[in-house]
Symmetry: C2
């Protein structure tokens, strides 16, 4: 039931030189499905990542942070689904470290060169023997898996694999950017988490890659919400192998904006795919808040609208219920907000201005927009030059069913 | 379908000397139901109120604030349902002022001595002619209505009237406290709003009453949430007539704590009734956060849990899904929160400690508590001496149905 989210086709997902993939079925939670992904990165690859801000962060997230600060030569990632290794205390931490040792041994690396990721049931320990066999198996077929296989291997309750890929010409040379993501609620603490992985064969210096990942996350994974919950395991990491021969060492490079935009574009597709496959989603909603004093303020208003259960159920019902949107803006907590300056539009239909219904607005026009599967809400705060965009979906009966029936 | 909320019985709702009530059916939105309440207050009555913090506050809220600051002799309240007079601009303000003039004329008061309240559809103008006839009619039967009639007259989508009443002996004299409330979501922008009215025949000085109302709101109406949305019209006002002969002029009065506690107790009942009748509610949840650094921090954690759609659907499903509660605590934004110090209990069952599942916790114990219609979640943050309580309900299919189908 994902909203306008075609299943990626194999030929659309370009291989990234310097990155090899292996997947396996370890039966971590259920048998018969791919649940282990190993990503091996060529020597010289630069890696950067951003992680959940949740204080209850999972053991693998702690290990990722520690390894990223200890080593400048990350050479492999390992992802398991079925068990999140979150809320598992000291033993969980030891298990995550042991996972990196297993893979390091097989690939002849140091454990600090491996980043571990887990997603699935929380408050349960990793089945280490199954995991070991799965990692063995994935390493045995390293290089044989496609990005589509990889996207499938990290799925939990996603209804379909999520991947995006592009090629850009930089100074006459083709540069590839390919990524995968998973997630269907912002958090599913039993089968948890948003994960995003992106790789490019451009060379990018460590500092520049770090900044790019932060900026890209801000424009993509940090701009989406399904239900406002933040997972214990959320992770987004990027690898730049340099195998294309194109190298960026400074944002001042005249070709950088071209590459940067392509990179962020892939991240945005991966992030939007999560919303399109949001739990029970029937509509994809873009909330654009403009004319704000700051980007932070614009985002605050955007999230207030995106998180309102009343606004979300109105979208589900195709009901142009302006009152709910206005009320959400009103309680978003923007200091000194003058409601008379606020204008709200549904796509190209101006629905509210001067603190009330817009002159000339007819319910039929609002209704027409609300029936679409993709809707843009534009809110002008009329008080500055900053803006922000938030992507979300509606709140349907299916959301309640998925989350109420989840463990049964 | 309200959770453990008996319909108040007439004989349980004590009349308050100095307060007379009149109700009428004005057909504001639909015919055949009471939709106007007039409350007349004896000379010398002190009145105080608190109102929505929503920037899109309704016209009557603006008039209430203005009249409360202009006049120390509020003598009447008028409430209409069916139309919220919110998002109605200048004309809405003029209509709310005209409403106070209508009632003032009939009761021989100044318009500034009248407080107007509206709840119902927003973005529509008040039908002033119907309103005038309704107010006429209600004044014609002033003194004939009971508090139960009053509670019924302010209902919108509430499934039942909400009222509470008590008597306390102060220095040998009986003092009465009686109140009514309405609301089923924290906001229903089309048929909006939480309203609370409470009256006592104790005499309370203006300053003391003002402080009492703030404190009582903090312990009751500000501690409840159904869906986290804040209405444009929320209002809670209190009247102290002094007709009992008991007078409080200072919080230092030795009898004050007795009266204060009884007053807050009635407010808490009125507020909890709103949650018990929450849209689609099947469970009443008390979230008690203890051992916090500050009350604000405790409340922040309480609301993070209470607003999480994942936690709420888990309650609906009677699923002891600890991960969702732990994750909500984790992202509540308490700075420097040490997850290893946090303990979580469902009623008397300790479910989590040291960042994971509690030793000795069995799913069967959690399951047993989750199946109850009333559940207390206790969270110890293990970092201070402050605490706060938040009351909420679960998130059911019915919530989505009510809010998606609402205007159709």
């Amino acid at each position: 039931m994902a909203v306008n989210l075609p299943v990626p086709e194999l030929h659309q997902l370009h291989a990234v030189s310097g990155v090899t993939l292996g997947v396996a079925s370890a039966g971590i939670r259920k048998g018969g499905r791919k649940d282990i992904l190993v990503v091996a990165l060529a020597e010289g690859t630069r890696v950067a990542g951003v992680f959940t801000q949740n204080a209850f962060c999972a053991a693998p997230v702690q290990v990722c942070r520690s390894h990223l600060s200890a080593s400048s030569e990350i050479r492999a990632w390992v992802v398991n689904t079925g068990c999140a290794n979150a809320g598992t205390g000291e033993r969980g931490l030891a298990d995550a470290q042991e996972t990196t040792r297993m893979l390091a041994e097989l690939l002849r690396l140091q454990p600090e060169q491996v980043l571990p990721f887990s997603t699935g049931v929380i408050l349960e320990h990793l089945p280490m023997e199954k995991l070991r066999l799965g990692i063995d198996q994935a390493c045995g077929v390293l290089g044989e898996a496609s990005w589509l296989d990889a996207a499938q291997a990290i799925m939990t309750t996603d209804t379909q694999p999520k991947a995006a890929s592009t090629k850009v010409m930089v100074s006459g040379r083709p540069v590839t950017i390919t990524g995968i993501s998973k997630g269907a609620g912002m958090i599913r603490p039993n089968m948890a988490t948003m994960l995003g992985y992106i790789a490019t064969d451009a060379g990018v210096s460590q500092a520049l890659l770090h900044d790019l990942v932060s900026e890209a996350a801000d424009e993509s994974f940090n701009a989406i919400t399904v239900d406002g919950d933040t997972s214990t395991n959320d992770s987004f990491v990027a690898a730049a192998t340099g195998a294309s021969g194109v190298v960026f060492s400074s944002a001042g490079d005249p070709q950088w904006p071209l590459f940067r935009d392509a990179f962020i574009g892939v991240c945005r597709q991966l992030a939007q795919a999560i919303v399109r496959d949001g739990e029970g989603a029937t509509k994809f909603i873009t909330i654009r808040v403009i004319d704000a004093v700051s980007r932070e303020e614009a985002r605050q208003v955007g999230y207030a609208i995106a998180h309102s259960p009343l606004v979300k159920t109105a979208f589900f019902a195709s009901d142009p219920n302006l009152g709910r949107i206005l009320a959400a803006i009103g309680y978003s907590g923007v200091p000194g907000c003058d409601v008379n300056k606020i204008r709200v539009a549904l796509d190209d239909v101006l629905v509210a201005e001067y603190g009330g219904r817009a002159k000339g607005y007819s319910e039929a026009d609002g209704q027409r927009v609300m029936q679409q599967s993709e809707i843009t809400v534009t809110v002008s705060l009329g008080r500055g030059g900053a803006q922000a965009v938030v992507y979300t979906c509606d709140l349907s009966h299916e959301y309640v069913s998925i989350n109420a029936d989840y463990r049964s």
